[in-house]
Amino acid sequence: MKEQLVVVGNGMAGMRAVEELLKLAPDKYAITVFGAEPHVNYNRILLSPVLAGEKQPDDIVLNGAAWYAEHGITLHKGKKVERLDRRTRTVNTADGTQAHYDRLLLATGSDPFILPVPGKNLAGVVTFRDLADVDAMLASAKQFRHAVVIGGGLLGLEAANGLLKQGMKVTVIHLGAVLMDRQLDRSAGRMLKKALEARGIRFLLEAKTAELIGKQRVQSVRLADGTEVTADLVVMAVGIRPNVALAQSAGIHCDKGIVVSDTMQTYDPRVYAVGECVQHRGQTYGLVAPLFEQAKVCANHLAELGYARYEGSVTSTKLKVTGIDLFSAGDFTGDDSTDEIVLQDAARGVYKKVVLDGNRIRGAVMYGDTLDGAWYFQLMRDATDVAGFRERLLFGQAHLGDAGHGDIKTRVASMPDDAEICGCNGVCKGAIVKAIGEKKLFTLDEVRAHTKASSSCGSCTGLVEALLATTAGGDYSTATKKKPICPCTDHSHDELRTAIRAQSLKSIPAVMQQLQWKTPNGCAKCRPALNFYLLTAWPGEYVDDNQSRFINERAHANIQKDGTYSVVPRIWGGETTPQELRALAEIAEKYAVPTVHITGGQRIDFLGVKKETLPRIWGDLSQAGFVSGHAYGKAIRTVKTCVGSQWCRFGTQDSTALGIQLEKMAWGSWTPHKFKLGVSGCPRNCAEATIKDFGVVCVDSGYELHVGGNGGVKVRVTDFLCRVKTPEEALEYCAAFLQLYREEAHYLERTAPWIERVGLAYVKQRVVEDGAGRKELAERFHYSQKFAQDDPWAARAQGAERHEFTPLKRVG
């Protein structure tokens, strides 16, 4: 017989836990759900648009009756559980309905707080929590004229806005001096107040409610200073309290909320709890995103998989009042140890503030232009060092200048369905909106998983979030504090690198076993990363695992859209000879190469080569003196040079020769992401050295070294590292920089984001200021090169890895 799972609370967190459980273990439990409300599971967040008349109650249903039936779930609607008996393991409702459980999930949400003032029980006094409240408000709006909302927080303002749209005259009474004081600072609060006043809402700030006056129905609100405000409807939106009554009466340990562990278990291990009723590591949460994370972890344990842990969440907020853009996250007030940068343009209604602790973001508030909210939130969670772009921080990720964005929600709303939102994955607005609706997506991560939108370069994240906000309502972005490298493990990149060295782990299976991988042999994300980490940790010792390399690196050629491959031989420093060109021409003809292209990296690319032909082409190239160009690898790519002092009338040094020397030193090395170099003969910079991972600009007195440039998706100009006098020094600094990057960057992190994360100051300290350290780094690089500078093409032309290039069998 199936085990019995009973869920108390038919709300957002409880049903999300059930959904997650059904994905993991659809047949494990017979499930019974009790819900005090007479409804199926609906999206509480969207009560605001229902109140504002923008949506109908039917639009916000999450799981209809059919869903419960389909999964064999017994739903007791409109039945509140009054008693929980842990000895007999039963729950009981007032009308005598009883259910027995093997495991119990409490998801009772919270109760709105009611001010203990005289008159609080009069007719016409309501809270804003469920559909019944919304019905009451809508009924009042039809009949009456004056509404008072007590509480100028998120909920209160959404209620005020909705009632205004229903034609009522609305006054908001707020105890504090600033609206939404938990989310906003003074300036942003003031701008918000102005915008809402312009719509017709009246505010009384620093106002304390003393009494509600009326006979049967409320007639007015009296404040502590004696002022009276006419009111036919009073909405109390002064906060919520975790609903712990049932748990407490059954003797389960509660504090502010029901206390749970990282596995979402209460002090009684048979009893789980999720949602607003919960207190985890001292924190309670009132936004859905963290609750959904809790639900996922809870389901993992109910399914007896037993590995997920909830470690707390950081959250950000947006206000769901159409036409008003507000964003806040983290600590936005700051203290003596923090700095703030502020941009304020009252005339245009734009305000942005970022609070910095050193060069790391601690919090942000934005009003009027919130497009970059997600970006700041990301920088904050990743503790990214923003020193390099601090001055431009407030202009936003796109560096469009502060005027460029416009009102993004209005912008996406007016886009046609076939407008492309995600250029990387070719996803258009219609597809995203459809997926959000049909698959009930709430978070950015879910939209990424289902549609692939915003999962690549991320520059459309703001647009996707705006779509989520306009389609599903609210803002749901959130993330766990620590970022595992992939779902196969709980460990982050840095933890893995440390463990590999500290515990002398020398193979992928050893890492997976020692660090308790959750999957038998990892995935396409973690295996290539581990392979690289092991290779850099144990040069000469670690045996490369071909099956953990992406096809391009496994086959030493770049796969094309039709399954053929490309071949790019190394052309040292971009300089070639007639003999070399003749050899290339002959080989291209001999193998009837369909396309020969001059690449952006000063080399020649043969495109459209069949896999089986690769070893033979390589054999011929090898005979003509060419080696692999690694155009396919997370590896040293090209060294672009100009003609320099050999020919150019402005050239100051022999940039070509230095480029060739650099390439001869560095080729063959595997790096976290691809690595490109450039050497220009003078500051005219014809080799574009200042958008390379390592660039040299020759000057009269020597060589200027630059690092962390990128000419790709997001152009980034290099940071100036230092100036050196001789080519030998340039080579040593380059080797040291390369090795530092190889040893410390995350896999698939190019030098540009790496430097932004760790800070230029750190890189300078290791490579420039610490002379002895630099020499050691360079030595370690040269040592690893002993095993790397082995032309993979020559080896394969001579028969290595034959199975990779030949079919298992030809039939017919």
Partner: protein, 121 residues
């Protein structure tokens, strides 16, 4: 017995394509046929699966992907495909046709008749 067993397999349209050792663990090799390539995968625990070598997304060669568990990640745009069912891993949708395989004494036999149920034959 051995001979009889083999005769039976052949009679049912099975073709001998090689041995288990011919395919690297967590890897794949291709069987070329007039109707297109078939990818033959080997998992870490020596299970063998055969699928049409054509990703349900845009036709990428699945044989060139990274094999993990009983899935393969397509090399072109990283869709994941279940080796045992040929179905794309959720939330993606689509399939690559399965071909029956059997292993006898380390030798792999493949049937060239795709199983029913997937249009991507």
């Amino acid at each position: 017995m051995q001979v009889a067993g083999k005769a039976k397999t052949l009679a049912a349209g099975w073709i001998e394509v090689g041995t288990l050792e011919d395919i690297p663990r967590l890897g794949a090799r291709v069987v070329q046929t007039p109707d297109g390539d078939i990818a033959v995968f080997r998992t870490a625990d020596d299970q063998v699966f055969a699928l049409r070598d054509r990703c349900p997304h845009k036709g990428g060669p699945l044989s060139q992907g990274i094999v993990h568990g009983t899935r393969v990640a397509c090399p072109l745009h990283d869709w994941k495909v279940h080796l045992d069912s040929g179905l794309a891993v959720e939330p993606d949708e689509g399939c690559a046709a399965r071909f029956p395989v059997r292993i006898e004494g380390g030798t792999i036999y493949l049937s060239l008749a795709p199983e029913e149920g997937c249009p991507n034959k």
